[in-house]
């Protein structure tokens, strides 16, 4: 039998990626065959949603079964609960994007099939990224994800700003990929292996004459990831790209890309970072870099967000700040002396990602809803409460959650992150984070003031998208989820903890389920 088919269909745990890709092909095919673009919209939407749902189902089949973490595809992909949790997050972001783009697509002068096809391909790249376990797979899935998103950022071809966003993102992304792949080459040169766990073991060996090369390689890989998550000082592209890209795409970038990039970064830090390097404790260099990036992202992201007038641009800067909070979790994860604590920090990161996904995804969905032909950013929220109270309420929930006010998911997420940082002994970083998030609360609350206490701009007509049920559904789901995460977080926190225990706990080397292949002897 053809080995690839055997490889693909022998593992039902790999099916989410296959479903998404099949759905993407179906979407593009419907678009190609359709005579009437408007009539093809709904079938394409249902095909895309069906793909996402099937992926969800096969994901939960795997999660529910009694399973041990195991590697498939010859060590390229790791199936564990950590990866599955992140996959679920990516799929949530994809589903939100499907719903929000349903109405917004008419303004972009592009077929929904092309658009959702690219979204689904990007999502399948993300699923691969959060489960990938060797350097080649990480690089390939980063590229698969990024290429699709470059195109999505520039998909509004009649808008100069959209083209600018695509160009900037492409140039910056290529730069980041250069760092990533050069770092990987250096790491491979030192360790002679591409598997993350083996890299960690090889670097921990005492007599490593090449420790400086390994340091340089790890530093460059981290810089590559920092570009992708938009952390200071690698954040220059974020505001322009987030503002220029069509709003549903921005929401997708903010939610799903963050999930994917932080998932891969977390796995890289846990698996590939040695405890010791060349006989010395590893932390100073690596963690010093994370510390600085986290602190700078929190301070500069929040500081610049305060001065923004455009809500979309403000959310872009706030996403930099949120990257900072999440990086603080990674610092805490490494600062803990024991693996139990670091699994706490990891679960805080996972839970925060979930909360952030609903908060920021919902906020961008609302901006999609308020957008008009003249104001594509949907920035004019003045007096929204008088025009449509339900929408204003949903937006308030998202803003309160992003600010970290109690009764919303954001509070629980921030509480978990800050407490894990403090328990890990990173008091100063936590203090910086708390001060920065107080500044953050100011500009989130300003949006609420704008909506409830100002009069609508004269001449600002009722939003044309009032009957856009896709966005309405997305907003409803996201706001309910935000409140539920705040009021009864326990089941979700338990799942996040369950997911992070498998990755942080010291464990036996994961078995490779690839019966036909004997274990590879080392190259001498």
């Amino acid at each position: 039998m053809y080995p690839l088919l055997e490889t693909l269909f022998g593992f039902d745990v790999f099916m989410p990626v296959v479903w998404l890709f099949l759905a993407a092909v179906v979407c593009v095919s419907i678009e190609l065959g359709a005579k009437d673009r408007a009539g093809a919209k709904l079938p394409i939407f249902y095909a895309a949603l069906g793909g996402v749902l099937l992926a969800f189902v096969s994901l939960f089949n795997t999660w529910g079964g009694a399973f041990e973490p195991h590697l498939i595809l010859n060590g390229g992909v790791m199936i564990d609960r950590f990866g599955l949790f992140l996959c679920a997050g990516v799929l949530i972001g994809t589903a939100l994007c499907c719903f929000t783009s349903l109405g917004a697509i008419d303004r972009l002068r592009i077929g929904l099939g092309d658009f959702l096809g690219l979204v689904l391909v990007a999502a399948s790249g993300m699923l691969l990224l959060v489960t990938s376990y060797d350097l080649i797979m990480i690089f390939l899935s980063v590229e698969l994800m990024s290429l699709a998103i470059y195109v999505l950022a520039g998909i509004n071809r009649s808008s100069g700003r959209s083209a600018e966003a695509a160009m900037k993102y492409f140039v910056m992304g290529a730069f980041a990929s250069g760092f990533l792949v050069l770092g990987m080459a250096l790491i491979y040169g030192v360790t002679q292996t591409i598997s993350l766990a083996e890299i960690g073991d090889a670097l921990a060996a005492k007599d490593n004459a090449y420790r400086n090369v390994a340091m340089l390689g790890i530093g460059m890989v981290v810089i590559g990831f920092a570009f992708k998550v938009g952390a200071v000082p690698f954040h220059q592209w974020v505001p322009d790209v987030y503002t220029g890209a069509p709003t549903p795409v921005t929401g997708f970038m903010a939610v799903a890309v963050k999930f994917a990039a932080f998932g891969a970064l977390g796995r890289f830090v846990v698996e590939a970072f040695p405890d010791t390097l060349g006989g010395e404790k590893f932390s100073p260099f690596g963690m010093g870099m994370f510390w600085a990036i986290a602190a700078l992202s929190m301070v500069i992201g929040n500081w610049l967000a305060v001065t923004q007038e455009n809500v979309k641009r403000m959310l872009a800067y706030s996403s930099i700040a949120h990257s900072g909070y999440l990086l603080m979790g990674i610092v805490a994860m490494q600062a803990y002396p024991d693996s139990l604590g670091s699994s706490d920090a990891m679960s805080a990161i996972l839970f925060y990602l979930l909360v952030y996904a609903f908060g920021t995804g919902g906020a961008f969905a609302l901006l999609t809803w308020t957008a008009t032909d003249s104001n594509e950013d949907g920035g004019d929220l003045r007096g929204l409460a008088k025009r449509s109270p339900g929408m204003a309420l949903a937006m308030s929930i998202f803003m309160l959650s992003l600010a970290g006010i109690p009764l919303t998911g954001g509070f629980i997420g921030k509480y978990m992150l800050f407490s894990s940082a403090i328990e890990a002994g990173e008091i100063w970083l936590a203090v910086i984070g708390i001060l920065a998030s107080i500044v953050g609360a100011f500009y989130y609350l300003r949006v609420i003031v704008l909506m409830y206490m100002k009069d609508p701009t004269p001449g600002e007509a009722e939003a044309k998208n009032a009957d856009d049920w896709g966005v309405r559904f997305a907003l409803l789901t996201a706001s309910i989820a935000t409140v539920v995460l705040g009021l009864m977080p326990n089941p979700f926190v338990a799942r996040a903890e369950n997911a992070s225990v498998t990755i942080s706990a010291p464990q036996q080397p994961a078995p490779v389920l690839n019966a036909a292949i004997p274990a590879a002897p080392s190259r001498s």
């Binding site: 080649i136 390939l140 009649s158 140039v171 322009d240 190259r523 001498s524």
Partner: protein
């Protein structure tokens, strides 16, 4: 005298050198001694130094040329130099694909595009010679000729500091390596459980498979047994990446003329309908009444 001897030595040895194969014996290995050791290291070191210089000089000239066509030709030179560097590292497959894919296909494609956009003699001026940074780039300013005046490169101190720091970091790391790192030029055979893996497994005298050679790359992707890891899925994911690239090019490159015309017609209709709005309303009302 010495030169003469060296010349004879090189002539004798060069009979054994075959391009695009690892510089060791290939084929029937019984009689041919592998070209290795100090002499081989010298040849490889010379290939490395020459190609590295060609590559770097080509890259610098490519950036410095004002005319994009000259820039492109220097890019070709730089690619060829990079191919030489790969060759000196015994990565013959990458060396050949560097020539075939980058120099052969991609650069020529660039050349086609540049030819199509009709540069002419004033072509240089169509390109903004000085772009302060991506964020301050204004097409309008370029059209007005504001930006193409002035110095060719905007010197930026932060960028220079960052570049020098990264360069210094690399030099420092290279200097900290053990000395023998730089003497390793021999290709490394891949070892299995029972000695080196050979091209013909039944014949213990056939050539071993060297790390980085074309045989090793092919087996790593397609073979599922022995010491070679199967990279079939990785290979398929490369296919997906390329597919997305094609999809993106088609979507971004689609003509929007038809759609714009449709939209204009729609707007025109809407305007007409707006002018006759009252009549339409009356007609609808009448229809409903019936």
């Amino acid at each position: 005298m010495l030169m003469g001897k060296a010349g004879v030595f090189i002539a004798e040895r060069s009979a054994q050198i075959r391009p695009f194969a690892p510089l060791t014996a290939i084929g029937p290995t019984d009689n041919v001694t592998p070209l290795s050791g100090v002499f081989r290291a010298h040849i490889m070191a010379e290939i490395f130094v020459v190609s590295a210089i060609v590559s770097v000089v080509g890259a610098v000239l490519m950036v410095a040329r004002r005319n994009p066509i000259y820039g492109l030709i220097f890019l070709l030179v730089s690619f060829s130099g990079a191919a030489g560097v790969f060759y000196s590292l015994n990565a013959t497959f990458i060396a050949v694909s560097q020539i075939l894919v980058y120099a052969g296909a991609i650069a020529v494609l660039f050349l086609f595009v540049l030819m199509f956009i009709d540069l002419g003699k004033k072509g240089e001026d169509k390109f903004p010679a000085r772009v302060d940074s991506l964020s301050t780039y204004e097409p309008a300013a370029v059209e007005e000729g504001k930006i193409s005046e002035g110095p060719r490169f905007q010197f930026s101190y932060p960028a220079a500091v960052v570049a020098m720091t990264v360069f210094a970091l690399f030099v420092w790391v290279a200097a900290s390596l053990p000395e023998e790192t730089f003497d390793k030029f021999d290709p490394v055979p891949i070892h299995g459980p029972a000695g080196p893996i050979r091209e013909d497994e039944t014949n213990s005298k056939s050539s071993p498979i060297y790390f980085g050679s074309t045989a090793a790359v092919g087996r790593a992707i397609f073979e599922r047994k022995g010491p070679f890891e199967s990279f079939a899925l990785h290979y398929e994911v490369v296919g997906l990446v390329i597919l997305v690239g094609v999809m993106g090019a088609v979507i971004l490159g689609k003509r929007i003329g038809d759609e714009q015309r449709e939209e204009q017609e729609r707007k025109l209709k809407a305007a007409v309908a707006g002018a006759d709005g009252h009549d339409d309303h009356g007609h609808d009302h009448g229809h409903g009444h019936h």
